[in-house]
Symmetry: C2
Subunit: 163 residues, 2 copies
């Protein structure tokens, strides 16, 4: 299988300049505002995006440490396989967040619910469509007894490489 | 901004050997089974994944045509900015699907609800957690009058490069 090359389409701006103390996932990022600065070369791709309340962001975990196949995630004290977690130190360090879109001004999108490090390279923006993306998952594995603590849990530097 | 290099972690197998006639999105793929063939080098990363009913797959649209910033998507007759659509011909051709996990046997995962081309390179597997990933989006833009037709709509080759 051949390698895959992506080129950032923009930058995510947020109040978080280091991993330590960051919220994890949407429940921890309620009300947190940020912006997407899209490269003007892609401006035409934003046509009609203002009609959506929520966007899916895919981005590069550019500060992630070298991949580990087993990790102790922020929400637990026990190790789990990396693909059973959302930890950044993944074989392909790609992050996914769903954010609320507040406004669009040219190539600048104001967003809310941002659990992303400032300066993160943006790989893709997709419209969030509940009929495609919202699923009534009945089994959430080890998260079942831990997910309630998400909003109160903060990140540390365990998955980050030194700056 | 520097380029991002990913390496496929496995292959997605499905009944669909060409884009023409494929279902689009989860509503069109109900009951469709497939498999994930994970590269055995990453086997340890699957520990505890069997506890989840749904997985998020990120994959390379390896057959996607050169990116277009404006596209006429399968569900509409009018053009939209690529970031307001889920079309494959994106600046970074990365796809996202949420599938049901049926079983895990070593590095082979049997999945259901597959709207992915056979042979697609897999980039990442994440556990689907409704508290993180399910959002009550109140505005879905141009999809509002079109999304009901998703299950009946099939793909064609408009976003594919010749084989």
């Amino acid at each position: 299988m051949t390698d895959i090359h992506f080129k950032p389409i923009g930058i995510i701006r947020s109040p978080f300049d280091k991993p330590e103390g960051m919220p994890i996932q949407a429940p921890g990022a309620a009300g947190v505002r940020g912006t997407l600065e899209l490269d003007p070369a892609y401006a035409e791709g934003l046509v009609d995006i203002a009609g959506f309340s929520h966007l899916i962001l895919l981005y590069h975990f550019h500060r992630a440490a070298r991949a580990s196949l087993t990790v102790v995630p922020f929400l637990d004290k026990l190790p789990h396989g990396i693909f059973a977690t959302r930890a950044p130190a993944r074989p392909n360090p790609i992050g996914l967040s769903v954010v609320r879109l507040l406004s669009v001004a040219g190539c600048l999108l104001t967003i809310e619910g941002v659990d992303v490090l400032d300066g993160t390279p943006l790989i893709d923006i997709k419209p969030y469509v509940p009929a495609f993306d919202a699923h009534a998952a009945d089994k959430i594995g080890w998260f079942a007894t831990k997910v309630g603590a998400t909003a109160q849990t903060r990140a540390d530097d365990r998955f980050s490489k030194p700056q």
